[in-house]
């Protein structure tokens, strides 16, 4: 399929007129974008909440208050300020669980991005450098994985590894590989034909050096954008796996797992169902706004307009 990365940047054009101050230039574009800024602020807030969960959350996430089963949020009849967003079926404070849940979601995002990025870049570079059989077998493998719907593939992988948070993260990382591999390979092949690569090859740089020091930094921009996007999809997919009972296991306060547990209360206690979903939506939305902003700021084509 057509996989010329739409977000590839051209370093030559980038530095044509102004002296190169990439970070300052990037920031000046980025801060123009109000949506992206909002996304950034929300994301920082969520990070802070996750880091300082012990201070933010009024209760421990798994503390069961046996006298307070399914208490509604504070503004509803029967609710109290003791439990801001109410309690779940076994008397746990939903707000506190959401706060701690942010940790899991962020960890999921980070681990999935790191894992899939490392593996994806490695495979993509290898495919780009060692053409022939190596490339064909890697790329065929990726085609095969692309033919399977991602969630389904993740479910099968989790079935093999056994349900659990880490296995879910691993499964999602594997599922994300094909896009990253293709992206890296395309960008690297593009770079390899450039003069500076030929120059450094002529001056005797080994393949490892060429790969990591010369080529990789110049294909990073599209990968960074892809990484922020996979950060948000990882949170969504992990929640979906949790919802199907294949992700984090109860009583872990992971948002998708909370939703799965809350499903039986759909009609009886709207708050147990609504709030974890809002938490997922807000986090993912903030990350996507951020990702959009990054792409616009890094993409020279849009800059010109």
């Amino acid at each position: 399929m057509n996989d010329t990365p739409s977000v590839a940047i051209d370093p030559v054009k980038n530095t044509a007129s102004a002296p190169p101050k990439p970070i300052a230039e990037f920031w000046s574009y980025f801060k123009e974008n109000r949506g992206a800024l909002t996304g950034l602020y929300v994301f920082i807030a969520i990070c802070l909440m996750a880091i300082f969960a012990d201070f933010v959350a009024p209760h421990a996430p798994n503390q069961q208050y046996r006298e307070f089963f399914l208490v509604p949020p504070f503004w509803q009849d029967g609710g109290s300020l003791q439990f801001l967003l109410g309690t779940d079926a076994v008397g746990r404070d939903i707000f506190s669980r959401l706060v701690y849940g942010a940790r899991y979601s962020l960890i999921i995002g980070v681990i999935v991005v790191v894992l899939s990025l490392t593996l994806g870049i490695a495979l993509g570079l290898i495919a780009a450098f060692f053409r022939g059989v190596t490339e064909i077998s890697i790329m065929r493998m990726m085609d095969i994985m692309l033919a399977l719907p991602s969630l389904l593939l993740a479910v099968v992988i989790v079935a093999i590894l056994g349900p659990g948070l880490f296995n879910a993260m691993l499964a999602i990382s594997i599922v994300y590989l094909p896009h990253l591999v293709r992206l890296t390979r395309a960008a690297a092949i593009n770079e390899l034909s450039k003069d500076y690569v030929t120059a450094s090859r002529v001056s005797g740089a080994g393949p490892m050096r060429l790969m990591v020091i010369s080529v990789l930094p110049n294909c990073m921009a599209p990968l960074i954008v892809q990484a922020t996007l996979s950060f948000s999809s990882a949170i969504l997919d992990a929640a979906a796996l949790g919802f199907l009972g294949m992700g984090a296991q109860p009583p872990t306060p992971e948002w998708g797992t909370m939703l799965a547990e809350a499903r039986e209360f759909v009609l009886r206690a709207w708050w147990v169902v609504t709030f974890p979903g809002i938490a997922i939506l807000v986090t993912v939305l903030a990350l996507n706004l951020l990702g959009d902003g990054l792409r616009d700021a890094l993409d020279p084509k849009l800059k010109r307009q």
Partner: protein, 529 residues
């Protein structure tokens, strides 16, 4: 029939559409798709609801809502003095259902009985290997070892010859796998080269006949017009397959169905308050237990087992795990089974005494495992939570337990190991209402390394249940089983935890639905207001 145009917005009112006036239609929101329509091939209750309970009959049946055996396709029966020969006199004038691809030319007779059993029993039978050919219930009830032959005496008399006496035999013949299929239909399909049709498009003598089935969506039946016990009061029976329990309740509330099984424990309160719904409840024919490995020290010491039992707060489990929908178990059989011993005294919850008993047994710093199964079962809605509670209770008496779990198939397999480490949470749902079906299967010496998860072989107990198996006098059997329960309690190979309570939400317009103690769902005899 006059129908007004119905807009998308008012679909709910369809529940009262003209068809409902024309004929009585009962809609049951079932919990899943049946595996198929021949009950002898499968083992799931969902399958039995859709096949044996509605389409078929057996030689003997269980009186609706009880575990008592009553005549079915056999009007009377007699047992020879040595307990080896069972002779059944069959009912006359019983009609098979007429379906799209079969019109019966004769009434039910001995050939049908012979066919139904020989298909499962005789490996040479032309039907034995049709549709995968595995008869797990028939095997599970040890029929291949037990049966010597099934003989046609005349057109309306059949004799079962056994290899050894087996008191629960009659009750076994009331089980789903013993449903009677039509031999005439089978012969016809075999001649046509489509034997699998017998299992796909069932023909039975039962109160309802299959009209159509769409996997994961709907099963439709209509009343069998010539049913031998009288045509059912409802004309159409529909199973609306709905896996999610909250969705089932939604549909029940909206009147899209009238009966639903397996409600969410969370919805019970709301159902009790719902003016349109009657919430029926009954204790289930099951027991949830924690089985020690009585072959491994220190659990080979009855005193240690007893002490650990006394450390468990069962009342907290009933509230925390069953949300109140359960009852503390003191015997290994549920109270709905005959011979349940009321006199048994349960181990009291007494951590102090437990600690002392452990000290006396010379056990200190004990480390063990609690196995928690990964799935929800009727006798244990949340094994993980139950294990956590027991873990905390044991910690209070100085026993450190680690909770382990495996994938369900793996769990069942590994828990059978005789050198298994730790105590296993498991349970059992009765098949035929006979105490033998609990005590011999779960605690008999034959079951060690298999269904006896406690690996417990205790001669005094074994003698009692073996004797009860061959005696045919009911009063004597009762006495033997009552005694066996006392021996069990004294030896404590298990901690008996709970019997669950079965809830059935039924809409107000449903008349005379009765909960089946075996966990089935039976719609003959039910009417609609």
């Amino acid at each position: 029939m006059k129908r007004t145009l119905i807009g998308a917005g008012v679909v709910m009112s369809l529940a009262l559409s003209p068809m409902a006036f024309a004929a009585k239609t009962l809609v049951y929101c079932s919990e899943g798709s049946p595996e198929g329509f021949n009950p002898s091939l499968y083992t799931a209750g969902t399958t039995f609801d859709a096949s044996s309970k509605s389409i078929y009959n057996r030689l003997v049946e269980f009186d609706r809502g009880t575990t008592n055996v009553v005549p079915g396709l056999a009007e009377t029966w007699s047992v020879s003095d040595d307990g080896l020969e069972y002779t059944f006199n069959l009912r006359k004038g019983v009609k098979f259902q007429t379906t799209e691809n079969f019109t019966p030319s004769r009434d039910f007779n001995a050939d049908d009985v012979i066919y139904s059993f020989m298909r499962q029993f005789d490996k040479e039978n032309p039907y034995h290997n049709v549709s995968g050919g595995s008869y797990e219930y028939f095997n599970g009830m040890s029929m291949p070892d037990l049966l010597k032959d099934v003989v046609k005496v005349d057109d309306y008399t059949v004799k079962f010859v056994l290899n050894r006496p087996e008191a629960p035999m009659i009750a076994n013949l009331g089980m789903d796998f013993a449903s009677i299929l039509s031999a005439e239909y089978a012969d016809k399909m075999l001649a046509a080269g489509t034997p699998e049709n017998v299992d796909l498009n069932p023909v039975g003598t039962g109160p309802f006949q299959l009209v159509s089935y769409q996997k994961d969506a709907v099963i439709r039946y209509k009343a069998h017009p010539d049913y031998w016990a009288g045509k059912a009061q409802i004309d159409n029976l529909i199973f609306a397959i709905t896996q999610d329990p909250s969705v089932r309740y939604q549909k029940l509330k909206a009147g899209e169905c009238q009966i639903m099984p397996y409600p969410n424990p969370a919805d019970i309160e709301a159902m009790k308050a719902d003016a349109d719904v009657n919430l029926l409840e009954q204790e289930g024919l099951n027991v949830g237990y924690l089985a020690y490995n009585t072959k491994m020290p220190p659990f080979d010491n009855a005193k240690v087992r007893k002490a650990l039992n006394m450390a468990i707060n069962k009342q907290a489990i009933i509230e925390g795990v069953f949300q109140g929908a359960g009852k503390v178990a003191k015997n290994p059989i549920p109270p709905t089974i005959w011979s349940y011993n009321e006199a048994t005294v349960d181990d009291p919850y007494d951590p102090e005494a437990a600690k002392k008993m452990l000290d006396e047994a010379g056990v200190s710093g004990l480390k063990t495992k609690i196995w928690a199964m990964p799935v929800q079962r009727p006798y244990n809605p949340n094994a993980r939570r139950m294990a956590e509670l027991i873990q905390a209770d044991w910690a209070a008496v100085g026993v450190e337990a680690e909770i382990v779990s495996y994938e369900w198939g793996e769990y069942l397999k590994r828990s059978k190991d005789e050198d298994r480490d730790g105590a296993v949470l498991l349970g059992w749902t009765g098949d035929n209402g006979d105490p033998d079906n609990f005590l011999a299967v779960l605690l008999g010496c034959d079951g060690v390394g298999g269904s006896n998860r406690a690996q417990w072989c205790y001669q005094p107990f074994e003698d009692l249940i073996q004797k009860a198996k061959v005696v045919s006098d009911h009063a004597e059997r009762t006495k033997l089983y009552e005694q066996a329960q006392l021996v069990f309690k004294e030896q404590a190979p298990w901690a008996t935890i709970a019997h669950s309570v079965v809830y059935m939400p039924v809409r107000k317009e449903v008349v005379d639905y009765r909960i089946d103690p075996f966990g089935g769902h039976i719609f003959y005899g039910v009417d609609l207001k």
